[in-house]
Amino acid sequence: MPVRIKIRQENREKIEAICRSFNNNPGELINVLHQTQNFLGYLPAEAQEVIAQNLHIPTAKVYGVVSFYSFFSMIPKGKYPVSVCMGTACYVRGAEKVLDEFKTQLGIGVGETGPDGEFSLASLRCVGACGLAPVALIGEKVHGRLAADDVKVIIEETRKLG
């Protein structure tokens, strides 16, 4: 029996449009993946299947590229995506402890999303706010001069935003 993949019509149409904008050229796979992730927020299996069929390449190859680059994710981001800066300035000022505290408080690892879909956790390199180091972003909001002790409080404050 063939594998059945389900996808929403507008998502399928959008992904097909992205592929077409790159002339369905398999050499443009990474650009197609970037734009698809920008649109969907992540790259679920069904999106990769649609891309594979439109670019005429094996799905395994698409998955190979998605799993190779840490920028690509198969997990949807949370309502409040947390990004802890691990750039040099933040790192030397204790960003690792801040990140560890986020892991503990949220009960998830880097690259994961909590079961309620509220928070996801990522680490990134330098957001250009070194004067505020260590820095974490929650959504668009920048939290600077963080210490591990602050983490619990800002998570609760964010939750209250609803």
Partner: protein
Amino acid sequence: MDQVKLIIDNKEVAVPNGTTILKAAQQMGINIPTLCHFELKGMGVHNKPGGCRICVVEVEGRRNLAPACVTEVTEGMVVRTNSIRAINARRTVLELLLSDHPADCLKCSKSGNCELQNLAIRFGIREIPFEGEQSTYQLEVSPSIIRDMNKCIMCRRCETICNDFQTVGALSAIERGFPAVVSTAFNQTLAQSPCTFCGQCVAVCPVGALTEVDHTAKVIRSIADEKKTVVVQVAPAVRVALGEEFGMTPGSIVTGQLTAALKALGFDYVFDTDWSADLTIMEEGTELLGRLTKYLNGDKDVKLPILTSCCPAWVNFFEYQFPALKDIPSTAKSPQQMFGAIAKTYFADKIGVKREDMIVVSVMPCLAKKYECGRDEFAVNGNPDVDYSITTRELAHLIKQANIDFASLEEASFDSPLGESTGAGVIFGTTGGVIEAACRTAYEVFTGKTLDKVDFEELRGLEGIRAATIDMNGTKINIGIAHGLSNARKLLEQVERGESQFHAIEVMACPGGCIDGGGQPLHHGNSDIIKARWEAIYKTDRSMPIRKSHENPSIQTLYKEFLGNPCGHKSHELLHTHYFDKKPVIEIDLDKK
């Protein structure tokens, strides 16, 4: 071509520009060890990622060591393949590979035939100084292939053959760094993936990461069960390769010892798939002539070209990759399945054995045959026409376990009636053979004349795609032949675009056809072995007293006593099948918000 002069291990050598250090050294008899590098000369199979670094050599004036398999020679180059630096580096590379490899060689099915094990022996490895993380992948057992990725060394040969030679695309390297491994999309099972079970990944895997599902224990149990009548059939390509497992020269024809060994193992009836290959020609040949006659009479709707359907990996391929063309292939079952269908009806009745008390075993050069015999449509009330399919390699293990001295066996012959066959049946074992067998019969049936010469040399060869025109008394039949699914894909794309000039196309998935099937003795990249098997197939054909399928007396009797006419009612019931659309379906999800 320009010659380049260089020095390897203090000896001067001149080789054509573009030669790698590895090949230049090989010409001088210097055997640099390799692991990921794999080439099947003349077959278009070449894996050269330069990734494992087992072949590193020292090049004067170069800071780092050079991988010999991908470094081309330059004028005046001075190479040391055995400097202490190169030897130490290679040893470290091997030790690192072994540090993440389960040291369970004693119970690994690749033991004794493993390229990693051979290197460990060659390098005299006595301890592994590195301790570290070990891969912990789950074992996957599919209908044909076992994937034990803990043993994978990331040579990527399987990925190369699956994508480049077969264009199946079931496998790809995924992840990066330590978790990097060869896998399917989203780690789905092989059965969910586009895998055709051709088994070429198994044939090229240097270690025990990809192996066949072993049915020998089930076969032994069936033989030991006194209530069961156990019938065995042997595919054509097995008889020209099995000898290699017992140290014989490649190309040795061991039909006599093979049948003697099967009898010594205790099979009740030793029959021949060549017999059902002849039967296949009767059905497929009739179908071909039927479609051709309609076409010549001006029927525009007739489906041409007709495609052969003997190769189960090829069937899996078009079901997944070209489902829109699934009405074009011949509906004739493969010889393995035709044999099972007749054994469990006609023959079972003849000897007064009930279907459920008969076990049909097939010995095949193939892994896809294991999948094929498990297809739902090839069973009656859950009882399969062919119970177990074992490979040439598995049969060799069985013979060795049973203390049979294969080489000194007195030759025996196949039993009657499903053991009588012709030269046409045996050439099914190689590319071009099925269509040549069909031409021998189709010509005589179509023209009513006897062939002066049964050899259709124009259909033979090992080129990936071949074309020939057969003149049937003024009617010209265009024939296409492809082996390797990448070549088949090219012919199918022509068909899809409506540009195909062929009336009939034969496809076999493996390089050279069944002679290099995924279940054959491992050749470790030596294509001379495949060539030798190929020659042995035609030699066997020439030695047969009857060389045309329709002249097989036991096939004639079968039609008289049981089937009636080729492609008749009973034939359709027992000997024909239909195909399925297996391409993933993308459905619109109305519920998902």
